[in-house]
Symmetry: C2
Subunit: 358 residues, 2 copies
């Protein structure tokens, strides 16, 4: 009998963590309670009660919040407005593959700045800035995708200072920030340079990705500009799901849900960090304190294309590490391990299979 | 006491026609029934059961259907893929203002072809094609926005033939097609030239706009190309609302809902066509057999900017007719009357107010 395939490709939450009953009830309640808004055209930056709730959470004004159909699409709008052929954008190297795709789609030149355990290599960033500031810098400061690392408080302060000094935008993508399993939180880049940072986040990792409910926090005039772009694109974002999520938040269900998720995910991170030295002593890896990913660098001498094929044969689905690097060859030994979507037992088994083929 | 303002700006359904209870129940049922799909990432062209249901309705294969977060956004994707700076696109003149905005945003040159009572002036279109075929032609063949006119069967055949002969895309936007109050349906352009037509439609006018649920029907390979673009933009469209709408359709509720809407809207069209000769004998207007709009051309000598200001003062909100014309001055005497969103009494009163200021 073939053992079941273990999927370590995307950062998907396991299906069994979704609070199905609560969401089903909240969807019904919301639609009955406010149908005139939720079922009508809404030429707006999102469902007003949810904007207000998010504004309170982030200690900003509601006009600093725009809600959209996924934070990825809001980032697409940002790239459409701020980037274009010949314009330079910087990313951590490695970075979120879908973010890189969108920046490139706009025609921009995407420059990777090496990522270290405590965040970007700021000397390398400063050297890059000497050639003129980039239009924007895309950063996942908390539990980075794909590395799992977190930018230190010290580097956040320097980074915020650089953005202010040289006048470029930082897009701080923070979908994992609430999922801290240990250690201490550092301030958001947004809190350090509110005029220069657009903070993206979403409900995908703390509630359910299928709602595609993302949002951005930023200066009111920049949010208004994004809102005009969004209205021109789709008139208004999908409303009934925003009503459902607002009802869920209003009822005080989100905070306990996040606590529950941490209880599920923390042991999966531990299992990953225990399995790695046992089965892959020749590799190196990050030691995240939260989020969805551990970044693994395999011993030298391997070849990604062959590895993926052999993993496939061994019942292990992996993502090509090269896709996370602006210069793909640099990711030839890199693997992202999305530990949340698999049980501790599956993680152990996955590492056994990986060791066998490395 | 000031009489209440009458709003004749956008084509919004009246709030009281939304089947709130059915939709609330369907949302809950769908989420309980298929949470593993509706709440998870779905890198796909839409919720599979709804794609299949739509495919059956349109007698195509499911791989010819892509569902998105509004048909307008799907059109945005089409413009992003097929248009660009210096590329020519044709529209009916007048046409849907938001469609024109999106084509222009891509950098395309938007050329208006005069619209007649029975559809496009095809001689003018042929003359335009002589300068090289456009990349695409955007048409609302049924109950046009903003004119209310319907393209004749004869002109549909010629139009389909031109697209095939000269190899350009027709985007057939058909959100009003199901709302016919009298007369006979003509075949869709899509049925006449399935390889050259992308048929856009949505649930906004036959169910509720807030769900932002649009779709496109086209050749499988074109749909696959659009799906890749959509996945790169937002991974997947919003799913819970698709589950809700599928549940609504599956339960057989859509057809009776459309019948109910026709009962509400048909008298509003009649009231408009009766009020116009009574109060605006010097104007001319279209005589639609369905949809949302009557197009009114005011007597000569007026001035749109002054008219809008005076209407505002008289408690009547109007949309600037110039926005519907690729060459704005041509719309200086044009008014779109979206009759569905107001009662017959309000229509009568609106025409009284309009007559007073014209």
């Amino acid at each position: 009998m073939t053992p079941p395939v273990i999927n370590l490709t995307r950062g998907m939450p396991p299906v069994d963590v979704f609070p199905v009953n609560d969401l089903a009830r909240c969807a019904e309640t919301a639609l009955r309670h406010d149908p005139a808004t939720l079922l009508q055209y809404g030429r707006s930056p999102g469902y007003k009660p949810l904007r207000e709730w998010l504004a309170e959470q982030h200690r900003v004004n509601p006009d600093q919040v725009l809600i959209g159909n996924s934070s990825l699409e809001i980032f697409a709008f940002i790239t459409q407005i701020h980037l274009g052929p010949g314009i330079r954008a910087c990313v951590e190297s490695p970075s979120y593959d879908r973010g890189i795709t969108l920046m490139r789609r706009s025609g921009a030149q995407v420059v990777g700045i090496p990522l270290q355990e405590d965040g970007l290599d700021l000397d390398a960033l400063e050297a890059e800035i000497k050639q003129g500031p980039p239009a924007l810098l895309y950063v996942v400061a908390d539990f980075q995708n794909p590395m799992g690392t977190t930018t230190s408080a010290e580097k956040r302060r320097r980074l915020a200072g650089l953005a202010q000094e040289h006048g470029f935008w930082i897009v701080e993508d923070a979908p994992y920030r609430a999922l801290r399993y240990k250690g201490q939180e550092a301030p958001t880049l947004h809190s350090l340079a509110p005029d220069r940072v657009l903070l993206l986040s979403s409900f995908s990792k703390i509630l359910a990705p299928g709602v595609r409910l993302g949002y951005v926090i930023g200066p009111a005039e920049t949010i208004a500009e994004l809102a005009r772009w969004a209205v021109d694109t789709y008139i208004g974002p999908v409303f009934p799901t925003q009503g459902m999520v607002y009802e869920y938040c209003r009822a005080g269900l989100l905070a306990p849900n996040i606590e529950r998720l941490k209880q599920v995910y923390a042991p999966r991170l531990e299992a990953t960090l225990e399995a790695l030295p046992k089965h892959l002593p020749g590799a190196t890896w990050t030691r995240p304190e939260g989020g969805f990913y551990v970044g693994v660098t395999l011993p030298q001498g391997g070849d990604m294309a062959r590895l993926l094929a052999r993993a496939d044969g061994a019942g292990l689905k992996l993502t090509d590490g090269r896709g996370f690097y602006p210069v793909p060859e640099e990711g030839n030994r890199f693997l992202r391990v999305p530990f949340c979507s698999v049980t501790p037992e599956e993680i152990e088994e996955a590492m056994v299979r990986l060791a066998r083929i490395v």
